[in-house]
Symmetry: C2
Subunit: 360 residues, 2 copies
DNA sequence: CTGAAAGCGCTTACAG
DNA sequence: CTGAAAGCGCTTACAG
């Protein structure tokens, strides 16, 4: 039995199997072990094999802290989401986390509560940890946050939103990175188009007084509002009083309340497009309680196709959004950026799907 | 202007403000800065003040990797949960994460999918990162996982379950830690009692044929089953055919299916106690679809008081479980253990609350 | 392709 | 109470 590296003189031995242990057991230098283990080329294949075998036998596990300190790059990645109480973001988190883990990265999560200064604070904290990369929800951030991101040089991909196509800078200077040429990296879909599509669906069903009922009012909700306005104006059916915007947090209970209020104040409304399924589900349950016929008296539509929407009675018409795919694709894109590769496109549009069910 | 530490000779300068920068600017040694910043006593208060001021002015931020490497203790903590698709665990995660962040710890999350070997693998991965502590769902783990935990000496608190009181070792040897004396640290409530309490409620409502309908069948679900059995046997109303155990994942849709099946096969059932609210909500929606009167023809009860249960029609009778409190209390207990303190009790019972609503 | 050496930015015995 | 020095376990120019 070969003795492990003699560290008897050290006054702070940790008992851990180290790189040097592997090196001496394999009869090569630590540098070579380091290179072999990380799959750096320019190492003799035979040596690589030997090192791998020895490392395996000794049960060597690299110390992430030491690696991070020496290389100035960590093996963790941060994801910033607004809330954990909206399953939308949990799905995003789940998919991203799975993708990162498969690539050997640890996921750190931050919850911003839709608060730009909380987001800024989280960004600051996270940056101190030198994440290898960053996923962040939306394109709306404080000046300071954006400055922090830019200065840190940490690659970043935005989730669930795409920049307005009209505002893209058309100048194609070379020597600019893809991001500089075509704007921030992001994976999402066109919220405005989705809002418009649902409204067109309701119009096609012959609805004339279509309310847009929203809560939370984050930038993506407001884009759906824009799509709804566009469709209604085009149909000459737009009316300010059809906008019900409530800044409170979105929930089933709030959906029920809004439904009752809308019915009371505007009895001639024949459809409500809720900006999120939880509101719409709450409305459906309230309709049941109140004995209001859906879609007979009033049609109800939602957004996101969350859990349970297909189980409601009547089943909820909604827009299915590709949350898991966004999480996975964004994580993959970030992984590319971390490895110094250039993604095919800076903005990835994953689309959406109108799901007509019985509630409209 | 005093020059920052002359690192011109270094061949790998990172531009970061380091401890030495603060030290030379404050005119003390790095050791002193280190001690002052960490609030170690045995540092002159005046010096502490000076160091703090200088550190602040230079915008010094300690490098977590360097700190972890030198001290062999990281500033992150791991939480292992079965799923992200059950809001129960999301609530747990949210509360724990918030508590840890307030104490300056980063939360790393692992999803086991109710799979003991996945859990083991995650445990292995996480331990390589030397977490300061660990939160883990339940008390059921593979032998290997338990061995890993024990050997690692990483403090650990279990969530949502408590050991069987009868099996506690009564021998009170001194020189044993609290954990050794009274079993693993955990924060939860008595699942068996909760199952029994709900069954008693249904019995009190005059129900005679009370089904226990469950999915997922994790250990905590099985404990609720035990409580249900106990109550029924005591009332001389127990019958094997009243047990509907489905190993599939819990969901609204499955609840609807189970409800239909139960009605078809056992039309004389007068109550169903579902092991989780998502199943019960699905059953309520199915009842509505099928025109079955609840609770007139059949009573329906759930468990956990998840989002939406109070919004259903009829509102769902359920057991409110203290998930957020469990997450927070467990995190606090773990924080104590990390600081080398001994918690008041090793097993913290946070109780539960029966919430009777109109569905029973 | 390989190795010796320096360095990453901290903490912590040890000595005073 | 304070400091000089060694060390944590890696990576990476640099030289060969």
């Amino acid at each position: 039995m070969k003795q492990l590296s003699s560290r008897s003189k050290n006054h702070r031995s940790t008992g851990r199997v180290t790189l040097s242990d592997v090196a001496s057991a394999a009869g090569v230098s630590p540098s070579t072990v380091s290179r072999a283990l990380r799959g750096e080329r320019a190492v003799d294949p035979d040596l690589v094999a030997r090192v791998l075998a020895v490392s395996d036998k000794l049960g060597y596990v690299p110390d992430p802290a030491a690696r991070a300190l020496a290389s100035q790059r960590s093996d963790h990645v941060t994801i910033l989401i607004p809330l954990l109480s909206n399953t939308l973001f949990v799905d995003l988190l789940e998919a991203a986390q799975r993708t990162f883990r498969a690539a050997g990265f640890q996921t750190l999560m931050g919850v911003t509560h839709y608060n730009l200064s909380e987001e800024e604070q989280l960004m600051r904290e996270q940056l101190h940890h030198r994440p290898a990369g960053m996923l962040i929800t939306g394109l709306d951030h404080s000046q300071a946050t954006q400055k922090l991101m830019a200065r840190s040089k940490v690659p970043c991909v935005h989730l669930m939103d795409l920049p307005d196509p009209s505002s893209s800078t058309p100048l194609l200077q070379r020597a600019l990175s893809l991001e500089e040429r075509s704007g921030p990296y992001c994976v999402g879909f066109r919220q405005t188009d989705a809002g418009e599509a649902m409204t067109q669906h309701l119009l096609a069903k012959g609805k004339k007084r279509i309310v847009f009922a929203a809560a939370q009012l984050d930038p993506r909700v407001m884009q759906r509002l824009v799509g709804w306005r566009k469709a209604l104006k085009q149909a000459q059916l737009y009316d300010t009083h059809l906008e019900w915007l409530n800044p409170a947090a979105s929930s089933l209970a709030l959906g029920g309340q809004m439904f009752e209020q809308i019915l009371k104040q505007s009895p001639n409304v024949d459809a409500i497009f809720f900006c999120n399924d939880d509101l719409a589900q709450g409305a459906l349950l309230a309709a049941m309680r109140l004995g209001v016929a859906v879609p007979g008296q009033i049609a109800i539509a939602g957004f996101n196709d969350l859990t349970g929407s297909d189980q409601m009675w009547p089943p909820l018409t909604t827009v299915r959004t590709p949350r898991a795919q966004v999480g996975e694709a964004a994580a993959s894109m970030l992984l590319q950026l971390i490895q110094g590769e250039t993604p095919e496109v800076a903005q990835l549009d994953l689309g959406f799907e109108l799901v007509p069910r019985l509630s409209t």
